[in-house]
C-alpha cells in the first residue's frame, strides 16, 4: 500500500513537472506582458524598465531555474497584474467557486444518470430508454455555451425565474450546474446503461434468476456493482474534459471560478497565474484519479493495489 502510494505520488510529481515546464515554455514564447500592463501610451523605455522589474530581461534558463527554485520552496510567484498578490493565492481564491460548481454539476449529472438508468432497468420500460438516449444525444450535440444561453433565454429572459448570471446564491448556481449536469448526464447514462445490458448477458445473471431471485434484486445486487467498474474508469479519464468544459460554463454565466481567472490571465499574459492554475488543475486531476483507484479497490475486491 505504501509502495503503491509512493509510486503514485512520484507519477503525480512527474506529471506536474511536465505541466509546469510546458506552460513555462509556451508562456515565454508568447512574449513579455509588460507592454500589455503599461498600455498603449507607454514608451519603449518604460516597457524595458518593467521587463527588468519582472525579471523578463534575464535568459530563459535563468528564469526557469529561478521559477523551479521558487516552486520547491512553495513560492509560486506573484501575479504580474496584481504584483503584491501570490499567483497561487489568487487561484486558491477562485478554487472554491469552481469546486462548488463542478461538484454540483457532476453530482447532479451522476444522480440523474443513475436515477434514469436504474428506473429504466428496474421497470424494464424500454421505450423510455430510447427517449432518454435520444434527448441525451440532442443535449450532447449542443456545445455547452449554446445550451447555457438557451437556458438563460428560457429561464431568465422569457420566464424571469432565475438571475442570468452572477454568483453567491443557490439561484445563480442552478443554470450553470444544470448546463454541466445535462452534459455529464448522457456520458454516464450511456455508460451505465451499456454496462448493465452487458452484465445482463452473463451466466451469473441467468443462474441468479434460475435461483429465483427477483429481476430487481439481480440488477441492484448483481449487475450494478459489476457495471460500476467501467463507469468509474471513464469518470477518471473524463475529468479532464470536464474541467475544460467548466471554463466555458463559467464564462457564459460570469461565474467567478478558476476557469475565468485562467482565461483572463492567459489573455493578459499573466503567466504566473496561468502556471499556478495549471498546477492546481494537474493536482486535482491526479487526486481524482487516485480516488477512482481507491474506489475501484472497494467496489471490486479482486483489484489489489500494488
Amino acid at each position: 500500500m505504501a509502495r503503491y502510494l509512493g509510486r503514485r505520488l512520484l507519477q503525480a510529481l512527474a506529471t506536474i513537472f511536465v505541466v509546469v515546464t510546458v506552460t513555462f515554455i509556451i508562456g515565454r514564447l508568447a512574449g513579455s506582458p509588460s507592454a500589455l500592463i503599461l498600455g498603449e501610451w507607454a514608451t519603449p523605455e518604460q516597457i524595458a524598465a518593467l521587463d527588468v522589474e519582472l525579471g523578463f530581461d534575464r535568459p530563459y534558463l535563468v528564469q526557469y531555474a529561478d521559477y523551479l527554485g521558487g516552486l520547491l520552496q512553495g513560492d509560486f510567484g506573484n501575479s504580474y497584474r496584481d504584483r503584491g498578490t501570490s499567483s497561487m493565492a489568487m487561484v486558491m481564491d477562485r478554487l472554491p467557486d469552481s469546486l462548488v460548481l463542478g461538484a454540483a454539476g457532476l453530482s447532479l449529472g451522476l444522480l440523474m444518470a443513475f436515477a434514469a438508468v436504474l428506473f429504466i432497468h428496474l421497470t424494464r420500460w424500454w421505450p423510455l430508454r430510447s427517449v432518454m438516449l435520444g434527448l441525451g444525444s440532442m443535449r450532447q450535440s449542443l456545445p455547452d455555451f449554446f445550451f447555457g444561453l438557451l437556458l438563460v433565454l428560457i429561464l431568465s429572459v422569457s420566464l424571469g425565474w432565475l438571475p442570468s448570471l452572477g454568483s453567491g446564491s443557490l439561484q445563480t448556481l442552478i443554470m450553470p450546474a444544470l448546463t454541466i449536469a445535462t452534459g455529464q448526464f448522457i456520458v454516464y447514462a450511456r455508460l451505465l446503461d451499456n454496462a448493465l445490458l452487458e452484465q445482463g448477458k452473463h451466466d451469473y445473471v441467468r443462474t441468479a434468476l434460475a435461483r429465483g431471485e427477483s429481476p430487481r434484486r439481480v440488477v441492484l445486487a448483481e449487475t450494478l456493482p459489476n457495471g460500476l467498474l467501467p463507469v468509474m474508469t471513464v469518470a477518471g479519464i473524463n475529468l479532464g474534459t470536464f474541467l475544460g468544459g467548466l471554463v466555458i460554463v463559467e464564462n457564459v454565466f460570469a461565474w467567478p471560478g478558476m476557469g475565468q481567472l485562467m482565461l483572463t490571465a492567459t489573455f493578459s499574459r499573466d503567466f504566473a497565474v496561468v502556471q499556478s492554475g495549471l498546477i492546481m488543475v494537474a493536482v486535482l486531476f491526479v487526486a481524482a484519479n487516485l480516488l477512482v483507484d481507491f474506489l475501484y479497490g472497494i467496489v471490486d475486491p479482486r483489484v489489489r493495489m500494488r
Binding site: 501610451w41 516597457i47 497584474r81 503584491g84 436515477a115 424571469g160 432565475l162 450546474a177 475565468q260
Partner: protein, 520 residues
Amino acid sequence: MPQHTRGRLTRYSPSRLLTGTAAAALLLSACSDSTEPAGDQTPAEGGELIIAAVAEPENVTEPVVDGSLAGYNYYYNVFDRLTMFDAEGQMQPELATEWEPNEDFTEWTYTIRDDVTFHDGEELTVDDVIFTYNEVLNSTDSSVTGYLNVLDTVEAGEEENTLIFTLNTSFSAFPSLTTAVSIVPEHVYSELGSEEFAQQPVGSGPFQFVSYTRGVEYVIERNEDYWGGAPSLERVTFQTVSDQDARLNGVISGSVDLGQISPNQVGAVADDPNIVIESVTSNGVVFLGVNTGAEGLDDPLVRQAIIHAVDRESIVENVLTGGGLANGQIVAQSVGGYDDSVQLPAYDPELAEQLLAEADYQGETITLEYATDGRIPLSTEVAQAIQGYLTAVGISVEMSGMDQSTLSNRVSATQDLRGLFLNTWAPSTMDGDMPATNFFCGGSNDYTHDETACGLVEAQREVDEQERTDVFGELAELNIEQGFIMPLYSPDNIYAANPNLDWQPRADGLFVLKDASLTE
C-alpha cells in the same frame, strides 16, 4: 418583473426525465432564501445599480499605477481629478476652479477648491495633488505615466491653493491630461503603498469604496458629503461580465441594469420592452495601420489606392448596421483636433485601379493582421470586408487573425507587423495629441518617421483653439495623401439599459454615475 410561478415548470417538461431535472432545480431554488433575481434586492431609496463591466483592470487596481479603461470606470466615481470631461466631451472644472497657461503654454497654474475632503474626513490640499503627480511621474510600472510625458515638475504656487505644472515642451491642450490623474490622499497612500491602497482605496469622489473581489465585482456607495452634492444612487456594483451575450441577457432578465453590447446584438432586441438601447459615437477611431516598409506598401501610390478602394460608409452601414460614423481623420468627431473642413476620402475603386496601374503593382501579397476578439467589435467581419474591397481592385490580401493580446504586443513592438493591421485608438483625454504623437512622432504605430508630419504634431502644441484645429486639419490631409495611417470609422458605444435608469452614455465609453438615477 414576471412572477416566479413554480408549478408551471413541470407542465413544460417534455418527458419524465426532464421532470427529474426540473425537480432538482426546484429543490435547489427552494433552498435559496430569496426568490427574486439578484438585481432586485433591497429596493432602497436612491437604488442600487448593477453594471456589467466588460473587463477588469489588468493591473494593481488603484489610480496611480493603473490607467486602464476598465480601471477608470472605478476611479472616475471614487476619486476626483483637477479637470474632467463631461459626457459630450467638453472640458469641465473638477478639483480645479481655474487654470491659466503662460504665453508659450510651457507653464500652467491651477487653482484648486478649498472645500474638498477625502472619504476619511481629511482635507484635500495642494500637497495631495503634488504628491499624486509625483507618484505617477516616479513610478516604473504605472500605465498613467504615459499620459504625462510632457510634464517636468509640479510644485506649489505662491498663492494659496495654487500649483504650477512646468512642462518640457509647449502644450496648449495640457488640461486634457489632468483629466487622467485621479488625486489620492498623501497621508493614506504614502503609508499603505500601492498594493495595500488598492485593497482599501480612499478618494474624494461622489462614491466611496466598499469592496473589490477580483473577477467578481467592485462595489461603491454614495458619499453623502460629496462637495458637488451627494449622488442619487445609493450603491453601484461593477460586475465583471466578459461575455457580450451574457451582458445583454443580464440586462433583459433584470440581473444587471446596464451593459455595453455589440452592434450585431441590437437588431434582435430593439423592440424588447424590458430594455432600452442607447448609443453615442465613441472617442475612438478604427484604422488600418500600415508598415510602410513592407513590400508593396512601400509605394505611396499603392497606399493611396488602398485608401480609395475601401468604402467606409458602407462598412459602417452594412457591417456595423449603422453603429458608427465613417471617418477619414485620426481622431473621432468628439475629440480635440477633429477638423470639420477635411473631406472624407472618396470611395473610388476606379481611381484605385488606376493608381495601382501607375504604381506598377505586380500582385505582391499584402498581409492584413487583425484581432479576432477584443477591442474592436466585429473585427473579423470588418477585416473581411476590407479584404473584399482590396481584392476587388486587384490587390492580393492574405488574412492573419490572432488574439487581441498577441496583436497588441506585436503593435507595441512596432517593427514587427507584416503589412496592414486593423487597430483602434481611443484617447481618454479626448484630445488628438496622443494619437498624433503615436502615429507620426515615433510611437508604436509609426512606421514612417515622416518629418513633416511630426513637425505638424509638434506645431499643434504651440497654438490654441481654431489655429490648433487647422494644424490638425493639415495633418489629416497630409496623412490621407501619403497613406501613413488609414482611418476607417468611429464606432458607436452601444448599451442595453434598464428603462428605469436615467443616465448619459459617454463618448469615452466610461460610466460616470454621480448624476445617474433609478426610478421605480
